[in-house]
């Protein structure tokens, strides 16, 4: 059953990339425990606008955990306390009445803050453009069933392909490494027969681009896996390493 709650939100406010930010605390009373965290931000913003203050900017779109647009640190944890979920899938019933919740943007050199909780994650797209694809022109594909793929391989490829590109893994990593994100894509395509022809070139280029964007190295802390809303396993980083070594060896 829904309860009424009072919550304090301690939120990072930063008007633009060039002005330093600071935490500001707001109190919201009498909200339903059935609300999502983003619903709560909506309620806060309505109050702020009515008072003539600036609303808190935060990215969001699907609000059902699939687009990867939302994301910030909730009490220091990327996406929030409930593991395996995005920020938009955190509900107030999982917080304590009277609790102070701290919200701040993802922190990483490669993700500059744009405003309040909004950051720039375009580095991830640039990594994808450096080979995160299979080269097949429209119209040139053979019949879909001409490439049988064992069910378990297809399932493993799917587990990797489920990444939503949210960047939480980067935000959680002490080195701000994007290895889980990159590893997931490399594993997805390396597992499939369609991905074989470009296997070597892909891993070399994507890893190179990741370095160029200023992401750090992976030193096996495992924080990425813990916050990943899609439960992408850290074994994908091992696959990426193996693929990388194999590529160096082959080329």
């Amino acid at each position: 059953m829904a309860k009424k709650m009072t919550l304090h939100l301690r939120i990072w406010r930063q008007p633009n990339p060039h002005t330093p930010g600071k935490f500001v605390t707001y109190t919201i009373r009498d909200v339903s425990s059935d609300m999502s965290l983003l619903d709560l931000l909506d309620v806060l913003n309505e109050e702020l606008i009515k008072k003539g203050e600036q609303p808190v900017e935060f990215d969001n779109d699907c609000r059902e955990g699939i687009c990867g647009m939302c994301g910030f640190l909730v009490n220091g944890v990327a996406h929030g306390p409930k593991r395996g979920r995005t920020a938009c899938q955190q509900y107030l019933r999982d917080f304590k009445d009277g609790e102070t919740i701290t919200l701040e943007p993802f922190r990483a050199k490669a993700f500059p803050v744009i405003k309040d909780l909004v950051v720039d994650r375009s580095a991830l797209d640039r990594i994808m453009a450096a080979g995160g694809y299979i080269s097949v022109n429209t119209g040139s594909a053979p019949d879909a069933n001409s490439i049988p793929i064992p069910k378990d391989i297809a399932e493993q490829a799917f587990d990797a392909a489920a990444c939503i590109g949210c960047g939480a893994c980067v935000a959680a990593c002490p080195n701000a490494s994007a290895s889980l994100f990159v590893g997931a894509k490399i594993a997805h395509l390396a597992l499939l027969p369609q991905g074989q022809p470009e296997r070597i070139r892909r891993v070399l280029r994507m890893v190179e681009q990741m370095d160029k964007e200023g992401f750090g190295d992976c030193s096996n802390h495992g924080e990425c896996e813990a916050v990943c809303p899609k439960n992408i396993s850290i074994k994908h980083i091992a696959i990426m390493r193996r693929e990388y070594l194999r590529a160096l060896f082959c080329s």
Binding site: M35, E57, D61, R63, G65, C67, M128, A130, Y133, P148
Partner: protein, 642 residues
């Protein structure tokens, strides 16, 4: 202002249905590879339609600029599609064929779509699956390694391909990766965090767009030789809907005001299985995929006001009303029919849950017969999502579901080449009106978006270029300057009202009007009330709106204000269209026109046409143009799913 075309020419080919598209393609003019490089195409939107179009056009050698609202093109609303995509592969040998998919889609749309278009769509469905598999889309497979399929509403064959409950995500990532390959090749330039706010028409041709850079607030003009709109549907006009928060009508509406006709705006799909709203604070509803109706049974208590928990209600006191009313299709009747049936039992007072506006979707029989793992594998992520949102475990208690706005069949009018009434403005995906008539069958929006983007626009746009002279223009042209000034004025006006009501309040109010009067059931009196209310609300909006901040910064409230301003105009057209269509067809249910047992009563004599509305400068007096629908191959019948 474009010159109105009085007789709408769909340019649909004639002759035998099976060879129409092939012959049409053979007759289209081509652009030589060296010349393709000289053309720049502006693709607005990077969902399934936009990403597939951008990739395919760039592969041909065109220069493509791709725009989207989100921070990355991979986040377009298509990402949220759950259930699957149809294709007439007949891998199951269960009697499927291109003809049958065509027939099911035409019938599902209640005979309000063009035969030529729908047949082409069914034909292209075959190529789509091939293309996606080649890109590495991890579709569900059987133990033999071949592709698995399942059933969706409105069909008696299993032709729906799927990737767990994340089909849209996987298809979009496939199209996105094809597009990123072209970014890599230097043929596509990405413009994320941009919102198109105007279309620039020069000498009657679409020659550019004006965007707002959503980070800096700057207004940016872009010149192109053609504009391809792939900006999705307008269902967020209802405020509460299953759409992503950024889905909007702004791009299509501003093009409408520049001369593009708007077709069948009142055809809006209300999906039967969504998680019911729990409170006023909510701004978004979540779909539970139609695929769940394969294994879930829909029921309500037989008695009114029965408040016992579902597990305590014995079998003989449950009404499996879809199975009872429609024995042949059972729980898999099309969406419009299921939604109305749900509404009817709730109106009778037999709805469940705190508000009485919900019915059960119960998996206990399947769990008993096939085990929990079967359900987990097929629908695991949906069950998880349900649990996150409601805090209830659907493996133990039945889901509670209620209809919600989900898809818009209406959209900008396009001919067989997907060109609007403005030469050089093409419209793809949910943004156009083309293939679904008055009701879309499940798993066919993904099919349409990809057919449009991968396989149709690459052919038809070349024909346009080959037949058209395009004088050189630059952003110095007065049309660009005027457009920039218009947009600037519009934004300044929104910010200068400084009233007392927020954008969200206006949006919610508009949504309520549309849901009450232009929703699942409509009547003349209600529609007239709606029109009055919308006009009053629009006036209040322009006098009492409060938008914080300014235009030179990231300002989501300002973005939303512009979108709600457009919804407030489009809403009136939706009501006008619904009022003029004095028949019931598909999702458009006029209470005055129904059979004795409450089914839709079409009027083919008077309304067998596409209603395409032209903007006249007066929102209350749009001009109606008709495109008659001719059925040469199927006979419009009473749509029966009994």
């Amino acid at each position: 202002m474009a010159i109105a075309i009085k007789l709408l020419d769909a340019k649909a080919p004639s002759g035998p249905l099976e060879s129409r598209w092939t012959r049409h393609k053979d007759q289209l003019k081509l652009v030589s590879p060296t010349n393709k490089r000289k053309y720049t195409i502006l693709v607005v939107g990077t969902g399934l339609a936009g990403a597939s179009a951008a990739a395919s056009l760039a592969e041909l050698g065109y220069n493509v600029k791709a725009f989207c609202i989100q921070d990355s093109p991979r986040r377009a609303h298509s990402i949220a599609a759950q259930g699957g995509i149809n294709a007439a592969k007949n891998y199951r040998n269960d009697g499927d064929s291109v003809w049958r998919l065509f027939y099911d889609t035409i019938k599902g749309g209640d005979f309000r779509a063009r035969e030529s278009n729908v047949y082409r769509l069914a034909e292209l469905s075959l190529n789509i699956i091939d293309q996606c598999v080649a890109q590495g889309v991890p579709f569900a497979r059987e133990y033999g390694g071949l592709l698995d399929t399942r059933s969706f509403g409105g069909a008696l064959v299993e032709r729906t391909f799927y990737a767990r409950g994340q089909t849209g995500q996987q298809l979009l990532l496939g199209a996105y990766s094809a597009m990123m390959r072209q970014v890599d090749a230097g043929r596509v330039t990405l413009y994320p965090r941009r919102e198109m706010l105007d279309l620039v028409v020069i000498n009657g041709q679409a020659r550019g767009i004006v965007c707002r850079n959503l980070v800096t607030g700057e207004l940016e003009p872009y010149v192109g030789d053609a504009v391809v709109l792939c900006t999705g549907g307008y269902g967020n006009a209802y405020f509460l809907a299953t759409y992503a928060k950024n889905s909007n009508a702004t791009a299509i509406w501003r093009c409408h005001k520049r001369g593009a006709f708007f077709a069948n705006p009142c055809f809006v799909q209300i999906h039967p299985t969504c998680i019911p709203a729990t409170g006023d604070y909510q701004s978004k509803l979540t779909l539970m995929s139609e695929s769940l109706r394969n294994d879930g049974r829909v029921w309500v208590p037989t008695k009114k006001g029965d408040t016992r928990p579902p597990n305590e209600i014995p079998q003989d006191e449950r009404d499996y009303f879809l199975e009872r009313k429609y024995p042949t299709y059972g729980n898999l009747v099309p969406r419009d029919i299921a939604s109305r049936a749900v509404k009817a039992v709730c109106d009778e007072g037999r709805g469940v849950g705190a508000t009485g506006r919900a019915v059960y979707l119960d998996f206990s029989d399947t769990i008993r017969e096939k085990g929990i793992d079967y359900i987990k594998e097929k629908y695991g992520n949906l069950f998880e999502m349900y649990q996150h949102i409601t805090g209830e475990d659907p493996y133990k208690v039945p889901m509670r579901i209620y209809p919600a706005v989900h898809y818009t069949m209406g959209g900008l009018w396009v001919d067989y080449n997907l060109m609007s009434t403005i030469p050089g403005l093409f419209v793809l995906g949910e943004a156009n009106f083309s293939d679904h008539g008055a009701n879309r069958l499940g798993a066919s929006a993904l099919m349409q978006g990809l057919a449009d983007g991968y396989f149709i626009i690459p052919y038809t746009i070349g024909d346009y270029f080959a037949n058209t002279t395009l004088p050189k223009v630059s952003t110095e042209h007065s049309a660009f300057k005027d457009s920039l000034a218009d947009v600037h004025r519009f934004l300044t006006k929104l910010l200068s009202i400084k009233g007392n009501k927020t954008v969200l309040e206006f949006h919610r109010e508009l949504g309520m009007i549309l849901w009450d009067y232009v929703g699942m059931a409509r009547n003349a009196q209600g529609l007239q009330i709606a029109i009055e209310k919308i006009r009053r609300l629009r006036e209040e909006f322009w006098n009492n709106l409060k938008v914080p901040g300014d235009a030179n910064m990231l300002n989501k409230n300002l973005e939303m204000a512009g979108r709600v301003a457009d919804f407030l105009e489009l809403a009136e057209l939706m009501a006008i269209d619904a009022l003029h269509r004095e028949e019931s067809c598909g999702a458009h249910f006029r209470e005055e026109y129904q059979t004795p047992d409450g089914e839709a009563l079409r009027n083919d004599e008077k309304f067998c046409y596409v209603a395409a509305w032209e903007y006249t400068g007066d929102l209350s007096k749009p001009e109606l143009h008709k495109e008659p629908l001719v059925f040469e191959f199927v006979k419009p019948t009473v749509r029966s799913y009994k």
